[in-house]
């Protein structure tokens, strides 16, 4: 069976705050007393995994007396992150639904119906009993198989792509799969992971269609995807706060996975025309690019916070919006799951997918 084709991409990034401003807000949030379900449940939940609630957002260990602006400046220097997209109006399921509806609205009336919807995320919806997958089903308004893929954070999208390919093989009648990814971080869940990264809010959706004469020239063919966990000996469950130490664990794992994927398809890094990288922090992106021997211009570079599960789709939308990929151009997407996963995909341009990008965030390019 030939590989499925990405025929449409939609992304939304809310307005971004400068890092120093976000740090002040974070300081205030950490002093906020939890109420309701959160007060009853979250402290015990975190404690069961050996964590205290505010820990990830506390001042950095080595700068306990530093002012918040000074601490923020320190993070900015190390990670290269200077802006944090923060959604103020919608909840997580609302963000996901909006990008899904953007894709649906752009489809032709005679287009085949969406058969499967996968939702990828790291952050939680505002109420524990809601289901974003259910909301997506309701919004699409037609019978489909909706579910979430998670616990791999940013790497979930790569697993979703793998499963999509499996479903196309196993279910011949299946024609269209929608993958939606969204993040919205609410107190008490921390946007900042030690000194390693800082997370922003965003949502993205991609439409995968079975390869056919009608779809082949309209998008990117998904050649292959790989996902794997880090070895525990290298990366214990609690991520180290140090950027250098953590990058030293993720970068070699990413490079090995990318190398294996390229070799499986008889391709070389030099053939890659565009890289859709997870901008977890700038040194990690630079390390991976350097080791692959790829010049900087092959990937987007800015100062926006890391968008977790939504990162790959948002970056893909931005790349397609800014660049023209020639027929046959090879695209590499790579990413990480903060809990200890790495993933990558190879795509080949056979046309240009429909792209709808709504980005209100300054990126500080």
């Amino acid at each position: 069976m030939s590989a499925p084709v990405v025929t449409a991409v939609a992304a939304y990034v809310p307005p971004a705050l400068p890092l120093a401003q976000w740090s002040q807000i974070e300081h205030t949030l950490n002093a906020t007393v939890l109420t309701g379900w959160a007060r009853l449940v979250y402290p015990y939940w975190f404690a069961a995994y050996g964590r205290d609630l505010p820990q990830p957002s506390m001042p950095l260990d080595d700068t306990p007396s530093a002012s918040w602006p000074a601490a923020a400046a320190g993070i900015a220097v190390e990670t290269g992150i200077g802006f944090v997209p923060v959604e103020k109006n919608d909840d997580l399921s609302g963000l996901a639904t909006d990008v899904a509806q953007t894709i649906c609205a752009a489809r032709a009336p005679e287009a085949p119906r969406i058969d499967v919807v996968m939702f990828c995320h790291s952050s939680l919806n505002e109420h524990v009993s809601t289901t974003t997958a259910g909301r997506l089903r309701a919004a699409i308004g037609e019978p489909c198989f909706p579910f979430s893929i998670a616990q791999q954070q940013g790497a979930s999208v790569f697993t979703a792509l793998r499963l999509a390919k499996d479903l196309f093989v196993a279910e011949p009648e299946l024609r269209v799969i929608l993958i939606v990814a969204a993040e919205k971080w609410c107190h008490p869940f921390a946007r900042r992971i030690g000194r390693w990264t800082l997370q922003g809010d965003a949502a993205g959706a991609i439409l995968l269609e079975r390869d056919s004469p009608a779809t082949h020239s309209r998008g990117l063919q998904l050649l292959d995807t790989a996902v794997q966990p880090l070895c525990r000996a290298d990366a214990p469950f609690g991520l180290p706060a140090s950027l250098i130490d953590t990058n030293a664990i993720f970068a070699p794992a990413l490079l090995a996975l990318i190398d294996a994927l390229l070799r499986r398809h008889g391709r070389r890094a030099g053939e890659i025309s565009a890289v859709i990288a997870h901008q977890v922090n700038r040194p990690l992106v630079e390390a991976v690019s350097r080791q692959l021997g790829l010049p900087r211009e092959r990937h987007l570079e800015d100062r926006r916070a890391y968008l977790g599960a939504a990162e790959s789709i948002v970056r893909l939308a931005e790349t397609l919006d800014m660049c023209t990929l020639e027929h046959g151009a090879l695209v590499l997407a790579w990413g990480v799951g903060l809990g200890g996963y790495v993933g990558c995909s190879l795509l080949e341009a056979c046309g240009k997918p429909a792209v709808c990008l709504s980005d209100a965030s300054p990126t500080g390019q």
């Binding site: 259910g134 909706p146 893929i149 869940f189 966990p229 525990r232």
Partner: protein, 308 residues
């Protein structure tokens, strides 16, 4: 396309603490009418994790499965973790699937969670697992895990239908399985009631659940080339026992085929009900079809037809 796969081993873990619906209602501030309704739908007792984490419960279920099956951890290709409640995972940015894999030495296993079909998630995941086996010829064994713990007593009530219990389960799914072969799996999602506790439980939804259950069972039987009456055992979710009797009656299936021996004893153990029942039901007949069924609040249902 199909793959010859089946649930070769199953296990579960229920926390030790047993509570009854009357004392629960007193503590949670629910009325005598609520108790009467719960007893009418078949609930008497439930299990309370009493602070034990879902990670601990899931690991105990997996440990029981490894001991009973003799599974070599390094031969596992994939682990899929399912749950109903958003909090039944590790808090971000941690990953429960990675913690479990590292703890048990599942060093070659891909691992992720499949959720948001609420209590239908575990059976819903079978559709994805089947696809993985079809598309990946090298895949040999997948571990399907489910766990949930409701941390707030008053929230255990599933309006009009049952009471949420705590527990975990594990099922090993292998290629070329000689038992419990997966013949067909069907899923249904309406998207109605996606708001969970924030939404209004409307009376017409109960009717829709009845209709979707009936339709799903008929369809999954048809997929297997069977009449519904050919199904020898129905292993139900532990919600609304009278509704189950109505569904079976409407399909012409004898009430005696419904497995209810643990129904009132353990209440609704979220995603784990079908696997607990498959483990507990000792009257399954060799090579006879049996049905696993799950329903999730939010308009999700899943049905799997197995050949014992």
């Amino acid at each position: 396309m199909s793959a010859r796969i089946g649930l070769t081993h199953t296990a579960y873990y229920l926390p030790e603490r047993v509570d009854d619906v009357r004392s629960w209602a007193r503590r949670a501030g629910h009325s005598a009418a609520c108790v009467a309704q719960l007893e009418r739908v078949g609930v008497r007792y439930y299990r309370d994790a009493a602070g034990e984490s879902v990670a601990s419960m899931a690991m105990k279920a997996i440990d029981a499965l490894i001991r009973s099956s003799g599974l070599s951890p390094n031969t596992l290709d994939c682990m899929i973790y399912t749950h109903t409640l958003q909090g039944s995972v590790a808090p971000p940015p941690m990953s429960l699937t990675r913690i479990v894999c590292d703890t048990f030495g599942f060093v070659h296993a891909e691992a992720f969670s499949f959720a948001q079909q609420h209590c239908a998630s575990l059976l819903g995941a079978l559709r994805v697992i089947r696809a993985m086996f079809v598309a990946r010829p090298a895949l040999r064994r997948v571990l399907l895990v489910g766990a949930d713990a409701m941390p707030v007593a008053s929230e255990r009530l599933i309006e009009g239908a049952g009471l949420m219990s705590d527990g975990a389960c594990a099922a090993l799914i292998e290629r070329d399985s000689p038992v419990n072969r997966l013949i067909a799996v069907r899923t249904h999602a309406s998207g109605l009631a996606w708001q969970g506790a924030l939404g209004q439980q409307e009376s017409h939804l109960a009717t829709q659940y009845f209709l979707s259950a009936r339709q799903l069972i008929a369809t999954v039987a048809s997929d297997a080339g069977l009449e519904p009456t050919a199904i020898q055992r129905i292993l139900p979710h532990h919600l609304d026992l009278p509704a189950w009797h109505r569904v079976l009656s409407s399909l012409g299936i004898a009430r005696e085929r419904l497995f209810t021996e643990n129904f009132s004893r353990i209440a609704h153990v979220s995603v784990s009900d079908p696997i607990i029942n498959l483990t507990d039901c000792h009257s399954l007949l060799w090579n006879e079809p049996l049905l696993l069924f799950a329903h999730g609040v939010g308009g999700f249902s899943s049905a799997a037809l197995l050949l014992r």
